[in-house]
């Protein structure tokens, strides 16, 4: 998938499969006597559109013979940075309900700032703490929004 042509062929095929999945899922939608349009009609049409558009995209790319564009995918280091950022975000979200938003925010912000900026650990931890405290004071105490507070709720 280094070139636009290859990427379009691959994404076209993926979209075709996705469209078929949507079509199959739509066929399982139950009907309702209260409406004129069967509840499956619109998802079914969309599924067919996605599948057909995927085929057209792949076919157009297959037939394309012009100057191809090179897609700027990340190098190895860039890919590691993206994966670490995503993984840390997944851990953050997984911990959010149990640890609460302020504590998980402290850990997440502290870690990601340290990782991305190579700041001193103490500095990153301080920034994380300030972020967590701001979330707690502004959103949970002041605005009283229903964010998970974790141990700080007690």
């Amino acid at each position: 998938m280094r070139t636009q042509r290859a990427a379009d062929i691959a994404s076209g095929m993926f979209l075709c499969l996705l469209g078929i999945v949507v079509v199959l899922a739509s066929l399982r939608i139950a009907g309702s006597p209260d409406v004129r349009l069967h509840p499956r009609t619109l998802p079914l049409i969309l599924g067919w559109i996605i599948a057909a558009a995927g085929v057209i995209l792949a076919a157009q790319a297959w037939r394309f013979r012009g100057e191809d564009r090179i897609i700027k995918w990340p190098d190895r280091a860039g890919m590691v940075r993206v994966c670490v950022t995503l993984l840390s975000l997944i851990v953050y979200l997984a911990l959010m309900e149990s640890l609460g938003l302020p504590l998980s925010t402290t850990l997440y912000i502290g870690f990601l700032m340290w990782y991305l900026g190579r700041y001193r650990l103490l500095w990153a931890a301080a920034l994380g703490l300030v972020s967590g405290a701001t979330v707690y004071i502004v959103f949970i105490r002041l605005l009283q929004l229903s964010f998970p507070a974790g141990p700080l709720a007690r």
């Binding site: 409406v35 969309l46 940075r81 912000i109």
Partner: protein, 502 residues
């Protein structure tokens, strides 16, 4: 008589009383803050502060709540322009050119134009509210489900122009956005669909999660990949718009006022729809449409103007019929009723002093917001000077807060994360994102109005072509689609011809 100069002047004399001025100022400040902060839209902002208003009388309370509403519209553009986070769907068109301008070191002028456009549109549409409210209020009543469907269909047809030169990919993004919005429950029957047996998916995909993911998280991932030191390459920042910027945006401000105000009269036609329409119109009338998406100042002025004009337009059916055109006005209606004020024709007859003081205070509020926002432009633009390793995690934090506070469900944050990855891939693969956003915003209303229309017509789609307003919108939609396809075919033919010549 509905309008009287005496009532209006009396309203102004009461609105400038120290107490009313103070509450208007408080509302403007809070509104701006609510607009800037992720997660608290104007409706939840007003709802949170509603109990606090009981300590003042009905007039200052409503003055404050109205100021929060239009103040939030001023503030909403800030994060969209500076860090590419549209807090509300209405700020998405602002992101398209606003963030591009910010990347060119012009965040300050873009924020300034957003504030000036908001002021111009807010004030001009207040003139409409003052003089033509009863006449215009009837427009809202002329709209039934077929007219809404046709209007939504016309709005959806804008994806053709939003797709730029990638029409097929734009249509795919639209279909994906519509399909994603159909996950969950059928809005009319409540039947479960496309959930693949998952209970979490029954909650459905909220469009705010889609927006936050595609724009904010996707953008952060792109900067993380490049190990960016700063979010913008340009470290030099302009602070204020030049006269050239204002001259360039003047027409956009006036056109967006008209579009925002008239569409704002219709219940359900929220700023999230009108801002897209205004942006598209501006692109079409521009002599240089190719600048749109690359940092056109009119691309900021148009959605920001439409945003505020829609706000003021919404007060016409609210005051005249008690008909709220959006969630924030519904909360405001609750506030009115809490004080025993029944909106409708009798409100103007029985409580003229109240109505005209609130309207007069809105003129003053717009001036307060301009005076308040222009000096803050420099401060907001300085956010860009933060190093990316600090700013990036903070953008993700605000995205998480924004997504979680939609319904206070962790599911919405997971969806934002998923769409963040999708947004990252869409940027790489050259899929336009705005059509997907527009599709997710319009999906539910489009589907509901279609179902309701077919119930009225006993299943005949001819209903969209036999009612004049609906037929006009359908014709506009079809023209827009045909024009977009023709332009695409023509540009392809030209490309082939150029290649053959070479």
């Amino acid at each position: 008589m509905f309008f009287s100069w005496d009532y209006l002047l009396q309203g102004f004399s009461l609105a400038v009383s120290p107490a009313n001025l103070f509450w208007a100022l408080v509302g403007c400040l809070m509104g701006t803050l609510i607009g800037v902060l992720p997660g608290i839209g104007p409706s939840s902002g007003i709802a949170i502060l509603l109990p606090l208003t009981t300590m003042v009388g009905p007039t200052p309370a409503i003055i404050m709540m109205a100021a929060i509403y239009y103040g939030a519209m001023y503030g909403g553009s800030t994060t969209a322009i500076v860090v590419n986070i549209p807090g509300e769907a209405s700020s998405v068109p602002t992101c398209i050119d606003g963030y591009e301008l910010a990347k060119q070191g012009r965040a300050g002028p873009a924020l300034g134009i957003a504030a000036i456009s908001s002021f111009v549109a807010g004030t001009l549409s207040l003139v409409g509210l003052t003089f033509f409210a009863p006449m215009l209020a009837n427009v809202a009543l002329a709209f039934g489900p077929p007219e809404y469907f046709a209007l939504m269909f016309m709005s959806l047809s804008l994806v053709v122009s939003l797709s730029g030169r990638a029409l097929l990919k734009g249509l795919i993004a639209t279909a994906l956005g519509l399909a994603a919005s159909m996950v969950g429950q059928d809005p009319l029957t409540g039947g479960v669909r496309l959930t693949f047996g998952s209970e979490e998916l029954m909650a459905g995909v909220n469009f705010i999660s889609v927006i936050i993911g595609l724009f904010a998280i996707g953008e952060v991932l792109l900067n993380v990949e490049e190990a960016a030191a700063y979010i913008y390459e340009h470290k030099k920042l302009d602070w204020m718009p030049t006269w050239g910027d204002i001259r360039q945006s003047w027409g956009a401000m006036l056109r967006s006022t008209g579009i925002g105000f008239f569409l704002g009269l219709l219940p359900g036609c929220a700023p999230s729809v009108t801002t897209f329409v205004a942006y598209d119109v501006e692109k079409r009338v521009s002599k240089h449409p190719e600048r749109f998406g690359k940092g056109a100042m009119e691309g900021v002025a148009a959605p920001e103007g439409a945003n505020n004009a829609t706000c003021s337009g919404g007060f016409v059916p609210l005051f005249a019929f008690g008909l709220p055109t959006g969630p924030a006005l519904a909360v405001l209606l609750g506030g009115l009723m809490m004080y025993g004020l029944q909106p409708g024709p009798m409100l103007f007859k029985n409580n003229p002093q109240f109505v005209w003081t609130v309207i007069a205070s809105m003129y003053i509020g717009n001036v307060i917001l301009l005076v308040l926002n222009l000096p803050l432009v420099g401060m907001w633009a300085r956010i860009a000077l933060l190093p990316f390793p600090v700013l990036g995690p903070l953008i993700i934090l605000f995205s998480v807060i924004g997504a979680y506070s939609i319904r206070f469900l962790a599911f919405d944050v997971w969806m934002a994360l998923l769409f963040g990855v999708i947004g990252y891939l869409m940027r790489k693969l050259g899929f336009p994102m705005a059509p997907m956003v527009l599709a997710t915003v319009l999906a539910q209303m489009l589907e509901t109005s279609l179902q309701q229309s077919l119930l009225i017509s006993r299943g005949s789609p001819l209903i969209f072509f036999t009612r004049p307003i609906a037929a006009a919108f359908m014709a506009l939609a079809l023209l827009s689609i045909i024009r977009g396809v023709w332009l695409e075919v023509r540009s392809r033919t030209l490309e082939v011809a150029e290649e053959d010549e070479a």
